[in-house]
Symmetry: C2
Subunit: 250 residues, 2 copies
């Protein structure tokens, strides 16, 4: 490691110690959907070979959600995003492998308990731009995942499981469709997130029964074949459903 790199590390380390709460980090799994393709936002830190989830630290007086938003914004330029906390990762030596070539007194090398969030956005509206510490920031297709640093592979896997489970409880994902959308578009979203084909008629019927959609007097012309109807959310019912959930079972 050159002297210059070494010095930058020490400077950053001191700055971090000043600014951030020790022991706590935040990792965000940002899923991106567009036209039937599901991607995830990954970054590569400078000097790192492996990809990882965008993450960061918590400022000493900062709220957790605010921090998660800020970290995402720094990495991606994304604005207000609906973030869901789903798990916490704190195995004692989870970062040991990653930092093995770094000095032990590096602030970043201490043990961190990482609070994990996931989010879902439209990747076509966002071109990731690498930030100060990252050499790459890209949307990676979920079917072409590289090996990830530390326990980020596990975090990503868990996030996807949680996202799929949440689909049963919340009209999640609707917030990444445009204001007006068609039933096939909505179905495609569900199929992509679940990685599973759904029956068209049954999907239509079930969605309509939830009552969260308002059918507009417009169709999406332009494509070949029959023009599909356009829908928007019934914002009122949508909010209510977000709180109460789609189904109960017991």
């Amino acid at each position: 490691m050159t002297y210059k790199v070494q010095q930058k590390l020490i400077d950053d380390s001191n700055k971090n110690k000043e600014l951030y709460l020790p022991s706590v980090s935040i990792d965000c799994t940002v899923f991106g959907f567009s036209e039937g393709i599901l991607k995830v936002l990954l970054i590569r830190l400078k000097q790192a070979k492996q990809w990882g989830l965008p993450g960061g630290y918590l400022k000493k007086e900062e709220d957790l959600h605010t921090a998660a938003q800020r970290i995402l914004r720094d990495r991606t330029g994304a604005g207000e995003i609906f973030l869901n906390h789903f798990n916490t990762y704190g195995a004692p030596y989870r970062s040991q492998g990653f930092f093995k070539d770094y000095p032990d007194d590096l602030w970043n090398k201490q043990r961190f308990i990482s609070i994990a969030y996931y989010a879902l956005i439209d990747f076509s509206t966002l071109t990731p731009t690498p930030g100060e510490y990252t050499k790459s920031a890209e949307w990676i297709d979920l079917h072409e995942l590289p090996e990830l640093m530390m326990d980020h592979g596990q975090i990503l896997e868990d996030a996807l499981i949680q996202l799929r489970r949440d689909l049963n409880y919340k009209p999640i994902g609707l917030n990444l469709l445009p204001p007006k959308f068609t039933m096939p578009e909505l179905q495609k979203l569900y199929e992509t997130l679940l990685d599973k084909k759904l029956n068209r008629g049954n999907f239509y019927r079930k969605m309509m029964r939830y009552g969260i959609l308002t059918k507009l007097n417009e169709t999406r012309k332009g494509g070949a074949h029959k023009a599909p109807d356009l829908y928007s959310f019934n914002q009122e019912v949508y909010e209510k459903t977000l709180k109460e959930g789609l189904q109960e079972s017991w």
Copy 2:
């Protein structure tokens, strides 16, 4: 505050700083069920007026789940308990009110991000005993909750919501019944956790369909009226169901 109390505080503070990771704490919401009554394990710290959830800190090289287990054991004497992480609480000044009369350099007064777990056990098998820092540790009926310290009221409320939701996914709670149990006992458990009456015939039918129960060739004699059949879990199917969940919906 007397000199002696003050000195103890400082000693503990130094000991804590030595032993534990900064910024991270753990809170456990332990629900206790027995004979149709649902309670929660609450403690009162020495010098504290309000009740709170049993919580503690994470040792510098300790695993999160191990720490949660240890904290629970210290407070309750409980052995191996199935703990579920459900949320994290980290509002910047969440403990400010509680510690307002304490010196600012007290280790415990720093900002903590609390990792929250819930557990479910049979309260009749466990008599809580106050530990070193607690003057009381008791099972409190869920319908007679006192006001709790800090954000513990919120944590408890969230834990119950999560527990109820998990009932749809996991045969949770079964682990707090004795090895042999009756269908009415199982139903009572569900009714208590959900705070809702369930139809007897339908509950029976649904439970049987899951296939997680094995009917034994025994009945529970002794009570008045017809003796109910005894069941045990089909351990194999139980494990599988824990992984895959009871229902999918999509």
